[in-house]
């Protein structure tokens, strides 16, 4: 066990865990942030996607000891002071989910895209989500939701 200072969704958090503990496990079990999901534990499916220093990152094998004080943002931290993030509104509007297990990771990955490319074409969105697996076939709704959010963000 060792103590780690983390910055998660803008707040300082301290945890005492084994240094090899994956970030995902700490987020879910120690910090009560359960939006990021355990899908494969192999960095293959994207269900555990969070933002680390603004970039989309897989958290299921990332040891907590390697996170440092880099800002970690989870789906719970996506909403802004004024309310839901445009992506969250768009996913509700488009009903962009079936079982929804993959959706938190996809939302975060899409947020990373829109942060550096506010006007992505369809191919750019698909490329960004290429490693995010969805088994229900909700892809068309998800693509539509990301496009809708991008339009809204551009005003």
């Amino acid at each position: 066990m060792a103590g780690f200072e983390l910055t998660v969704n803008g707040e300082s958090r301290r945890v005492d865990v084994d240094p090899a503990t994956p970030l995902l496990t700490v987020l879910r079990n120690d910090l009560g942030l359960r939006a990021a999901k355990l899908g494969c534990g192999l960095e293959q499916c994207g269900a555990c996607t969070v933002l680390v220093a603004g970039e989309s990152a897989l958290s299921c094998r990332l040891p907590i000891s390697q996170v440092g004080r880099r800002e970690v943002t989870t789906l719970e931290g996506l909403a802004e002071a004024g309310g839901l993030h445009a992506l969250q509104r768009a996913f509700i509007e488009e009903r962009a989910a079936q079982c929804g297990y993959c959706v938190p990771g996809i939302l975060v990955s899409a947020a990373a895209l829109l942060a550096w490319n506010p006007d992505p074409d369809d191919e750019a969105i698909r490329r960004q989500l290429a490693d995010q697996l969805c088994r229900c076939g909700a892809h068309p709704r998800i693509l539509a939701a990301v496009r809708r959010a991008a339009r809204e963000l551009r005003g």
Partner: protein, 706 residues
């Protein structure tokens, strides 16, 4: 006539309650699997009761409360549960109006209801004032008349999906996300292959590991319980390394599967009018030489359900009672099945459905429930959250059965099909746990000491059940011969996967219809319509073709059509594809049309139809469980790839709404038509006739005319 659902669950109180002021609680015995069940159920309740949608709380499958609806499968939720709930809600409203009429002294026809408030003249009473916290007594019965379609204001119109806001803000609430005071974590260690024998395990080191509370060994069932999740993972890995096994080879590898399907011992039954008969199967007689006769063989491999989330369950033993929260499709069947394995009274067990990741049939959900219970019994009083590893999921779930379909048909001089023969070879499609004799359908029950044996395999004879689901086409032929073959001694564990036999049967039939149309020199659409006497079928095909419009430049177009189980939703899929020189199939566009009777939640229905088509496309283009005699080689997403975002086509869907008509199950309706639509489109694009799933680039290149 009262439905089977209402006969089994006649009490009104099982369906509708007004317990909390301003809220209506409605119950369903079905589970929310991501199909949008709770949204549709809430819409029906809001409609019949005249309350705002936001006031309706939906409670789903729980063996401790609400109706027992056995299982959430076979596209039955709308036909069974929603139909029953509509009647129950109508009865609740009827009684509330009767009560209001007496209290207000106003005749029923002069009462008006708006959002749960009943008005008569100047006075008004709310449903909650009328009920005064009481619950309904007596049965739903048949006295109430649900609203006529033209009175509907809620159903059939777009509505928000229930769980969406929670999902996009906090990630929803899945089994994996549950938390209870004192909760600890479990992992299991499966044998390296199905029949491996445990020679020994030195678990002393594992027991010493940080956080480990218990190492469970019962026969060849192995598991660990630890305080923290990462400790359970580490202990599980250490236990795996400490276990010594003797493995036995599988009876065959994937290369021998086609041969095994036709050469192994089997039970063969004729299928007549959609049902199998316990008589001798008719032989295949020589074709009439005056006809043009075609034969073709189609194949699907084993497919995984491949849920994105691993199977999981939370179990807690408290005194003599056990509670399990899990994502089983059939909590009412799982409860007695667990009791049978544990040798306890069924009523000491409560099973509550909590959503998991989408399952698409019988995956590891039920097995995980037993695993969790076995671990929880080792640490009484402590809730155990058990999650499978990705490898557990990929290598131990019961797969969709591999199938082989041999078709033969004869055309007369006018190009009409006069003779049709269908032989379908497959393992069973029903491996679900049932409380049945001394056998079990639960994985750990086979691994414990003493082991229980598996459920016996018997050819199902029901209407469009199992192997012969949709083997009997909707088309009109002069003669037809349909035979199902339940094949023994096949290598992999199997059970129900979305669509069951319909996936391969419809793939074969609809591909063959395309081949026959071309042999007859006919347009494939016109050829199908010519052999259909069913107007709603024709409407659906024509609607899909109209939706598709003109074929994109350089693309091939194909159609697939079926009415699911010949009695549920009609669905047609038009696929437009492009095929590269390298043999890669690019899906450009799917145009779907469906008739599912009266539409309640159009958005949810479209989601199911489109999702089914895309999942089916993934099975058809990319998926097969890889295995050799040493065991299953598809252990993760790299060795079992599925369709990804860059490969997704444009999808458009048109619904043929039939207000006032019965609801028809649609959740599996596009599963069969889709692979045929793709195969037919590939043929149109490049002349390659694909009869063997998956449609890999190598197969496309090998099938393409030189």
């Amino acid at each position: 006539m009262t439905s089977r659902t209402l006969r089994a669950n006649p009490k009104l109180d099982l369906w509708v309650r007004f317990e909390t002021k301003g809220r209506v609680t409605v119950f369903t015995g079905k589970a929310e699997l991501g199909q949008g069940l709770t949204t549709a159920i809430a819409m029906i309740a809001a409609e019949e009761l005249d309350v705002a949608l936001e006031r309706v709380d939906v409670r789903t499958a729980d063996t401790a409360d609400g109706p027992n609806e056995w299982i959430t499968a076979g596209s039955g939720s709308m036909e069974q549960s929603a139909t029953a709930l509509r009647q129950a809600a109508a009865e609740a409203r009827r009684r509330l109006l009767e009560l209001a009429s007496r209290k207000l002294g106003v005749p029923i026809p002069d009462l008006e209801v708006a959002d749960g408030t009943v008005r008569g003249g100047e006075a008004a009473l709310t449903y909650w004032q009328l009920m005064e916290g009481r619950r309904f007594e007596g049965d739903v019965g048949e006295r109430a008349e649900p609203k006529a379609a033209e009175q509907h204001r809620v159903v059939g119109r777009p509505a928000p999906r229930r769980e969406m806001e929670e999902l996009v803000t906090t990630g929803g609430r899945f089994v994996h996300d549950l938390e209870r005071p004192g909760m600890v974590h479990g992992r299991i260690v499966r044998p390296p292959t199905y029949d491996a024998e445990l020679q020994g395990v030195d678990d002393a080191g594992v027991r010493e590991m940080s956080g480990v509370l218990e190492v469970v060994r019962d026969g060849r069932f192995l598991g660990v319980v630890a305080l923290r999740e990462e400790q359970a993972v580490a202990a599980g890995e250490a236990l795996r390394a400490a276990a010594r096994w003797t493995t036995r080879p599988l009876p065959c590898g994937e290369d021998d599967l086609v041969e095994r399907l036709t050469a192994n011992p089997r039970q063969s039954l004729p299928v007549i009018d959609g049902a199998a008969r316990e008589t001798d199967a008719p032989p295949l007689l020589p074709a009439d030489p005056a006809t043009t006769t075609l034969s073709a063989r189609y194949f699907r491999p084993y497919h995984m359900h491949a849920s994105i989330g691993p199977s999981a369950a939370l179990a807690e033993q408290s005194g003599d009672t056990i509670t399990v929260w899990c994502h089983s499709q059939g909590v009412a069947l799982l409860k007695p099945s667990l009791a049978q394995v544990l040798d306890v009274e069924p009523d000491t067990i409560r099973v509550v459905h909590v959503p998991g990741a989408g399952c698409y049939g019988h995956n590891g959900a039920d097995d995980a429930a037993l695993d969790a219970v076995l671990l929880a019994r080792a640490v009484p009083g402590r809730p155990v959250l058990l999650q499978w590893s990705r490898q557990d999921e990929h290598t131990w779930e019961p797969y969709g059965s591999a199938m082989l379909v041999d078709l033969r048909a004869s055309l007369d001089a006018e190009g009409t099909i006069v003779d049709w023969s269908h032989d379908v070879y497959s393992d069973t499609h029903s491996g679900r746990p049932m409380p049945m004799g001394e056998t079990s359908g639960l994985l750990a029950a086979w691994h414990r000491d003493p082991p229980m044996s598996r459920h016996p395999r018997r050819p199902s004879t029901g209407f469009h059940s199992g192997i012969h689901r949709n083997a009997d086409p909707l088309y009109t032929f002069r003669r037809r011969r349909i035979v199902k073959h339940l094949v023994d001694d096949l290598p992999l564990r199997v059970s129900s996967q979305r669509g069951l036999g319909a996936f391969a049967n419809v793939f074969a039939i609809e591909s063959f219809m395309d081949e026959l149309a071309r042999a007859a020199g006919a347009d494939p659409v016109e050829f199908r319509l010519r052999h259909l006497r069913d107007d709603r079928a024709r409407d659906v095909i024509e609607a899909a073709v109209a939706k598709a419009g003109s074929t994109p430049d350089g693309a091939g177009r194909g159609l697939g059509f079926a009415r699911y189980e010949n009695c549920k939703a009609w669905a047609a899929v038009v696929a437009d594809v492009a095929v590269g020189d390298d043999g890669v199939i690019r899906l450009l566009r799917f145009s779907i049309a469906a008739d599912a009777g009266e539409v309640i939640d159009p958005d949810g229905l479209v989601n199911q139809l489109e999702g089914g088509a895309l999942q089916s496309a993934s099975w058809a283009l990319k998926e097969q469980v890889r295995f050799d005699r040493n065991g299953i080689q598809s252990r993760d997403w790299e060795s079992y790839p599925i369709l990804t975002f860059p490969e997704i086509p444009e999808v458009g869907t048109v619904l043929l709404d039939r207000p006032g008509a019965p609801f028809l199950g649609a959740g599996e309706a596009t599963q069969g038509p889709t692979p045929a639509a793709i195969a037919n489109a590939v043929f149109a694009a490049c002349g390659a006739r694909l009869r063997h799933i998956p449609f890999t680039p190598e197969r496309v290149r090998a099938s393409r005319p030189a």
